[in-house]
């Protein structure tokens, strides 16, 4: 791939992310919007590990996002007031669910895979929605909040300082994205690309397709759950909508809008989508139509996404 282009792009991305809270105000944003963008971007990139780099469409990934969120929220509410433990448990829950469901559905392909993921995603939605005593049902899980992080020598008060929380999320984002990049540039990552590009050829190179899709699904679920955990910490709250299929669709459109074949595409898509939703829903009660039209326009006119456009221009 275009290695020459990668380095400057990386620098731009990190500079933008590192300074975002400082200029967010100029463009009409606010710190928590910046944090939200980061969290959603992590989710979209996690999804894209599967969608863009393995070629497998999951349309029920919000389930794992939500499981991460509930795992984190319930840890703080019922077990121990620790943000780090909360994230860990959230990821663990998402990973276990991912492993089980992944094993059930890896044999399916294309639309059928997508459809099964949608249906399975709803299982968790209904559990969260109906199991009032534990999950708080439709009312969501409140009465808890993210806890300051004790580093031994000092304490990071991510609860009261939104700016500090942003950088806390950014560090986790950087580590996660770094791991995903490492995986994608490894033989394992190339194997996934092979599956995306041509499953038949990959199979006849001796690659166990199902096993690799399952593993990619797991990686994706782990980071999705992490994003969900961070989302719960961001809101100091979680509710069943965090696992519903609409959110799954939003993650997919973020990845596609930004460009699902490029590493940073989902980040760009998430930034645009989250900001757009924020602005539009403040201006009109018909924001759903606007979002719907964005879906339609992206599909019809920018199927390769925004970064897909620039890449095309570079190639020619």
């Amino acid at each position: 791939m275009n290695n020459s282009l990668k380095q400057p792009a990386n620098i731009v991305v990190w500079v933008v992310l590192l300074t975002m809270p400082y200029w967010m105000g100029f463009v009409g944003g606010y710190t928590e919007l910046a944090t939200r963008i980061l969290v959603m971007a992590l989710g979209a990139m996690a999804l894209n590990f599967l969608l863009g780099f393995t070629g497998v469409l999951s349309f029920g990934h919000a389930a794992f996002f939500g499981l991460g969120a509930y795992g984190a929220a319930m840890t703080i509410k019922y077990i121990a007031p620790s943000s780090m433990l909360a994230l860990f448990i959230g990821v663990l829950v998402g990973a276990i669910a991912g492993a089980l469901i992944g094993a059930l559905i890896v044999k399916r392909r294309g639309v059928y895979f997508a459809m099964t993921t949608i249906a399975f995603g709803q299982v968790f939605y209904f559990i969260a929605f109906r199991w009032n005593t534990v999950t708080g049902g439709d009312d969501g899980l409140n009465g808890w909040h993210r806890e300051p992080i004790n580093l031994g020598f000092t304490q990071l008060d991510i609860y009261h300082n939104p700016m500090l929380f942003y950088y806390f999320v950014l560090v986790i984002f950087a580590v996660s994205v770094g791991i995903m990049a490492l995986l994608l540039n490894s033989p394992f990552g190339r194997t996934l690309l092979a599956i995306r590009e041509n499953e038949r050829r990959a199979r006849f190179l001796g690659i166990e397709i199902e096993r690799h899709i399952w593993m990619s699904f797991m990686v994706s679920c782990v980071f999705m759950a992490l994003a969900g955990g961070l989302y719960a910490l961001l809101n100091n709250f979680t509710d069943p909508r965090a696992l519903r299929f609409d959110l799954s669709g939003n993650f997919v459109i973020m990845a596609v809008m930004g460009g699902m074949r490029s590493f940073w595409g989902p980040l760009v898509g998430a930034a645009i989508f989250v900001a757009l939703q924020d602005v539009v829903s403040s201006h009109t009660e018909n924001w759903m139509s606007v979002i719907g039209v964005v879906f339609v326009l992206v599909v019809l006119f920018f199927p390769r996404g925004i970064l897909g456009l620039t890449r095309k221009a570079n190639n020619s």
């Binding site: 400082y22 009109t284 009660e285």
Partner: protein
């Protein structure tokens, strides 16, 4: 039905707002300081879409009316007032919370209003309390909001579920019988409402002979209705709300239950009755406010203004929104300040003036609980309007809020004030 006009209260000016905020951030990026602005801002974080869109919009109509009146009388503390409207969605508390934070952090609102959905209201209250903003809940009924999880800064206009239960129970026992069967939505609100009804029922010598917890969003109630019918109760109590209530009543009437058993419930809304086919407008209910009060001063005036603005008569929701916004202005006037703590103090046992209370016995925020105590209207749904097509409820008795509100101790609210 033009959706856009409703948000014309304040169109965000992206560029301008952004520049001002940006400038303040250069100075001290880590500290969000409140800026002196020439307008007083009220943040409106309430449903415009989803299940509760109809009540949410009606609350907004009342709010707009109050806003006009307040500005016509010189605003709050001599400053013009504006409402910044955000759609909280009907069920997505994550969005509601995010919008609340946005209104407080970015728009620097002086007041926060919302929400129809008590779950969202409670989630928002956590934010407003953390930030120390005066927060009015116009229409979320969950008891805990002015009970176990009460906050010094959170005031509620609509009634608690217990008040509604206490208001209707005597009528039902006396007129229809003592054996009750419940159809209750299976979530916190429903559980609270049912236990309220049971308490009120037992106190009057009635008994519960059965009940079902129906999942929220149930579309087919027939199984429950059949069970209820075979338990042979005197009254079937419908505690489901919104769309669930519409579904349940529609199906109950199709089964002919209304001809065999008495149908009733606690909270009813004009919005629901309008959505039912005429034959399904049955049963005894409580309304929290009703427009047909010919003997109460100022009501006719209020009705006329709302009809002029929206084309429909006001519902209790319209009144909630109206009272909610007026509460902001009255609190500031009472405290002679826009400091949240001072305003909250000023609202303790504060009586609304009659032109805003719009009910025969007046309305006041009970101290130590921040709950508005007004009148409740017990009566029957009717198939066809008498005074206009929307007059679908016949008030049989008006109950004094103070009589059904229980004691402050019973509410379970232990208010802690900021140091």
């Amino acid at each position: 039905m033009s959706g856009n006009s409703k948000l014309n209260i304040r169109r965000r000016n992206l560029l301008q707002g952004g520049l001002v905020l940006g400038a303040s951030q250069i100075a001290s990026p880590f500290i969000m300081t409140a800026r002196a602005e020439d307008t007083i801002k009220i943040g409106w974080d309430n449903p415009l879409t989803g299940t509760y869109a109809a009540p949410g919009k009606n609350e907004l109509i009342g709010a707009k009316l109050a806003l006009e009146e307040i500005n016509a009388k010189g605003g709050i503390a001599g400053r013009k007032v504006e409402i910044i409207v955000e759609d909280s969605t009907s069920g997505d508390a994550g969005t509601a919370v995010q919008k609340a934070r946005k209104l407080i952090d970015k728009d620097k609102v002086n007041f926060l209003i919302g929400n129809v959905n008590s779950a969202l209201a409670i989630a928002m209250a956590q934010v407003s309390n953390e930030k120390g903003i005066l927060h009015i809940v116009p229409g979320g009924h969950s008891d805990t909001m002015t009970g176990a999880t009460c906050h010094w800064n959170v005031f509620r206009v609509c009634n608690t579920t217990q008040m509604e239960a206490n208001a209707i129970a005597p009528t039902l026992i006396k007129t229809y019988g003592k054996k009750w069967y419940y159809i209750t939505p299976d979530y916190a609100f429903g559980h609270a409402l049912q236990s309220g009804m049971e308490k009120a029922c037992t106190a009057l010598g009635g008994t519960k002979i059965g009940g079902d917890l129906t999942p929220l969003g149930t579309t087919d109630f027939s199984s429950y209705l059949i069970k209820a019918q075979s338990a042979n109760p005197d009254v079937i109590i419908f505690l489901v709300q919104g769309d669930d209530m519409v579904n349940a009543l529609k199906q109950a009437v199709q089964f002919g239950l209304d001809k065999k058993v008495h149908l009733a419930g606690a909270q009813q809304e004009l919005e629901n009755l309008k959505g039912l086919p005429p034959e399904a407008r049955v049963g005894n209910w409580v309304m929290e406010w009703y427009f047909d009060q010919p003997n109460v001063p100022h009501v006719a005036d209020f009705n006329a203004k709302v009809v002029k603005a929206s084309g429909y008569v006001p519902t209790s929701r319209t009144w909630f929104g109206y009272v909610g916004i007026w509460t902001c202005a009255l609190a500031a006037a009472g405290a002679k300040s826009i400091d949240a703590a001072k305003m909250a103090k000023a609202l303790q046992d504060f009586h609304l003036p009659p032109e805003i209370a719009l009910c025969p016995d007046g309305a006041f925020y009970r101290a130590g609980q921040n709950q508005l105590i007004s009148n409740l209207y017990v009566g029957k749904a009717r198939v066809k309007g008498v005074k206009g097509p929307d007059d679908l409820f016949e008030v049989t008795s008006v109950v004094k809020g103070a009589d059904v509100a229980g004691t402050l101790e019973e509410s379970g609210c232990k208010m802690t004030w900021p140091a």
